[in-house]
Symmetry: C2
Subunit: 294 residues, 2 copies
């Protein structure tokens, strides 16, 4: 699989710059998590890459060619989001849209589609504009998993889904990924759940890429140190602190640093932290990554 290269994208709406000089590379096959707070620009970024919006600057390249100028390239990309088929004038039934997807994509995975309709218990005779929030999401997920694209973008694929449906989604995603390796890029607010699935993280913060790394690296370089404040403050100055917390006399700092932790005093305890904690500390308005670098 050739990589998809996102190169120097800018986008403003009216006077507000939403994305600033966004560059990164999507390799394959991987499952990427695109993480970011409400309003960080995730949906805009998905729309720009998939040619639903035009960037002010920059381009998206596949096989060295701009995707925009290349119909074969565009067919390698698929975006499922909550506006995809939810136009108010669409009143056809679910089965009609599945038939259309089949006609548009000769390699549409009809067998998987029927399986997913069954396990999610989707009524294909429901009119598309009458689906509940949860089932709109499910319908989008089903199409996304069955189209033959190489880069599949899923914007909040768990919105409105109950815990059982989320579990079905994660399992089915892993199964189809194993059978037919390709690249998924998934935005979500349920970080700890997606952490079980994704292997790569892209963190968007205030319109900029703050971090792009593997989940494995990110977790290996992130941890908590707990002890009394004096000991910790004396020790931590060499490391990149992303947050801190006090409970009673216990002082905890969160570290994200690629340097190895050496000479940790006995009075300080190191413990692992989960991805959601890393995310929260990196994206609080207090400053996140920049707080220590300043």
């Amino acid at each position: 699989m050739n990589p998809l290269i996102i190169s120097h994208l800018d986008k403003s709406f009216k006077k507000k710059q939403v994305l600033k000089d966004i560059s990164f590379v999507l390799e394959g096959p991987h499952i990427y998590g695109l993480l970011g707070r409400n309003g960080s620009g995730k949906s805009t970024l998905f729309n720009l890459i998939n040619n639903r919006l035009t960037p002010d600057r920059g381009q998206v390249l596949l096989d060295g060619k701009p995707v925009l100028e290349d119909d074969d390239g565009l067919e390698q990309l698929f975006l499922a989001n909550h506006t995809t088929l939810m136009r108010k004038d669409e009143k056809g039934k679910v089965k009609k849209y599945i038939r259309l997807a089949n006609q548009f994509y000769p390699d549409f995975d009809q067998e998987l589609c029927e399986h997913l309709i069954r396990v999610f218990d989707l009524n294909v005779n429901t009119r598309i504009d009458k689906l509940s929030t949860g089932y709109q999401t499910i319908f989008n997920i089903i199409l996304a998993l069955c189209v033959p694209a190489s880069f599949i973008f899923l914007d909040e694929p768990t919105l409105g889904l109950d815990a059982n449906h989320r579990e079905i989604f994660y399992k089915e995603l892993l199964t189809t990924f194993a059978k037919r390796p390709r690249t998924f890029i998934i935005s979500t607010h349920l970080i700890d759940e997606l952490a079980q699935i994704m292997d790569q993280v892209i963190l968007l913060d205030q319109g900029q890429i703050k971090l792009a790394d593997s989940v494995e690296n990110l977790l290996a370089h992130s941890y908590a140190l707990t002890g009394n404040q004096e000991d910790i403050e004396a020790f931590m100055s060499n490391y990149h602190v992303i947050g801190s917390e006090r409970i009673g006399n216990q002082f905890t700092v969160y570290i994200y640093d690629t340097k190895e932790l050496t000479d940790l005093p006995d009075t300080i305890q190191k413990s692992p932290i989960d991805l959601q904690r890393v995310f929260i500390e990196l994206t609080t308005t207090r400053g996140g990554l920049d707080y220590h670098e300043a």
Copy 2:
């Protein structure tokens, strides 16, 4: 605090019975989680209790009187859901609605309101119909935490909230609950997160109450047993099995049973399970609780 008694509620829409003979008691002060799958009737139940819908049968009693016939009683209840203030003809700014809430409730907690506006970074000059999904939720949360009601119903208070905003919500809820104990009833799909906060669970499944218990009891009576299938099948027949799973040669059954577990063979391992797992196993279409009772 007098309990709120929900007594034999029925509700149908057209031919479909959505709620069937719902009875339970809300005591105070507690934080209840109302759990249930998409379509299980959670929102309808909230609307019935709060007099936004009329039941076909049954009543809601406070201090022995039907809430419906008692203005003082109704003021003790507050429901925050996504339709509360989102009528399309409402075009005032956020601050206008906060002023109205202040006028309506003499004991509105204005100090807390200002604090929450600050920590959630809500722009009070935004028009109510222009708020994003996340900020609509935040606005509802703020009102709900500041009104002087005794029973506060929150329908999906984390919909569209990023991880940081969810963390703020959980912290602020616990803080105000400690300062001014009252009863919260919260529906959510993020069970593991709410499990840190709630102390009582009500489980709604296909329009009926399947379970009402404390979180402590529910977790004490729920666990996984892992081993080879033969050993487990020989042993488990005396216990209430809610689900099973096989990974390679490992067979796991999930148990929910108030009986004490005795004479567990060495070949079988017992391990705790989390609330989301209990929920998933109790509400799968395979049958959940009924599967074993049948």
